[in-house]
Symmetry: C2
Subunit: 217 residues, 2 copies
């Protein structure tokens, strides 16, 4: 089944692209440029598409930034400690980012008569981001079925929605994903800074050798 | 309740803006530039915002066009008569347009801590466009509740979803909407071409004087 993969260039979504190539027909990778600081990941997505021999669409939605910047985002003032989780969330996330990117990916899939959109939302994100939870994914797919009813039929694949990052590493290792050609760091350095432990821990827990070059060893 | 109105500059959505100002707190109008031929309608939306004394955001999503253009759209060949309705639909509509515009409008509303997004989908569009039907609207609002859960709370207002265009004209007349300052023609002329009868009929059925200047009288 012809599948459009939303790919940031990170470990999860590049592994997803390899999994889709293994189980379906990989149509293309779609990467969103939303003005992220860690733009280097877009180059990693481009490399993954080249490695996989598929088309790569970079969709520039950075013009949405001024519209989506709430006060906490534009003030450039860190949210003080002790605030409610809700306030911290509002300060650190782009409002409605996943629904926006997924509806655009659905439009691309429909225009190309693809059967599926695949997205790499995974279990580790559930507690933080509401738009990564299984209930959201189910509701999103149901909404899209109605939106395209009778004209196109596009399904949503999220094989990692109940998986941990360590499980994704295990799956990727089985597919020979070149992990050194994926990018997980939110800072814009030359190599992964290594202060965020999520990626390191996933390799350790999976018992897979970590090929990543970290600034902080 | 603070409300963001998606406004194309057409009769329906300008009437919606006046209705929202009457019943809620009108926050702003949001207009999408998706590379439509009838760009003049964007100027009508800007005028409506000025008339109403509210902010006007023009969100340029025309960069999505190359990604959303399927073969039938890019070939520039009219779809032959006698094709299935499905094929005609595919040829003439931008895939997933309403879900894309609505998710962006939700992002804007969330960033501005607004309570509602209002959209002018109406009864007359149900048979043609799946993403104007009440089932879609309900599913879309449910999806957004889950996507923003615990962080923002934004509802969806679609007061015209079960109304005909004639009923919208009646509502607009009651709110003193300056109908001559709205635009309904998909062709890019100086005045409404008048060959599409939908707008004319709505005024006639509503028994409201039609102030529109039509090229085809």
């Amino acid at each position: 089944m012809k599948t459009v993969v939303v790919c940031s260039g990170g470990l999860d979504s590049v592994t997803l692209a390899y999994l889709v190539r293994h189980e379906h027909i990989l149509d293309r990778l779609v990467t969103f440029d939303y003005g992220q600081r860690h733009k280097v990941e877009i180059e990693y997505a481009a490399r993954a598409a080249a490695d996989l021999g598929v088309r790569h669409d970079i969709v520039d939605i950075s013009m949405l930034r001024p519209f989506l910047a709430g006060s906490a985002l534009t003030d450039n003032v860190p949210v003080p400690d002790g605030h409610y989780a809700e306030d911290s969330m509002r300060a650190t996330i782009v409002p409605n980012r996943n629904p926006i990117m997924l509806t655009i990916a659905y439009g691309i899939a429909a225009a190309d008569d693809a059967d599926f959109v695949a997205a790499a939302v995974h279990g580790g994100d559930h507690f933080i981001y509401p738009d990564c939870r299984p209930e959201f994914i189910k509701a999103f797919a149901a909404m899209q079925d109605l939106a395209l009813d009778g004209v196109w039929r596009v399904g949503l694949l999220t094989p990692f929605v109940d998986k941990s990052k360590a499980e994704i590493v295990t799956i990727g290792a089985g597919l020979n994903v070149p992990f050194e050609r994926t990018w997980s760091c939110y800072r814009g350095g030359e190599v992964h800074c290594g202060t965020c432990t999520e990626r390191r821990e996933a390799f350790a827990l999976a018992g897979v050798a970590d090929p990543t070059d970290y600034a902080d060893r």
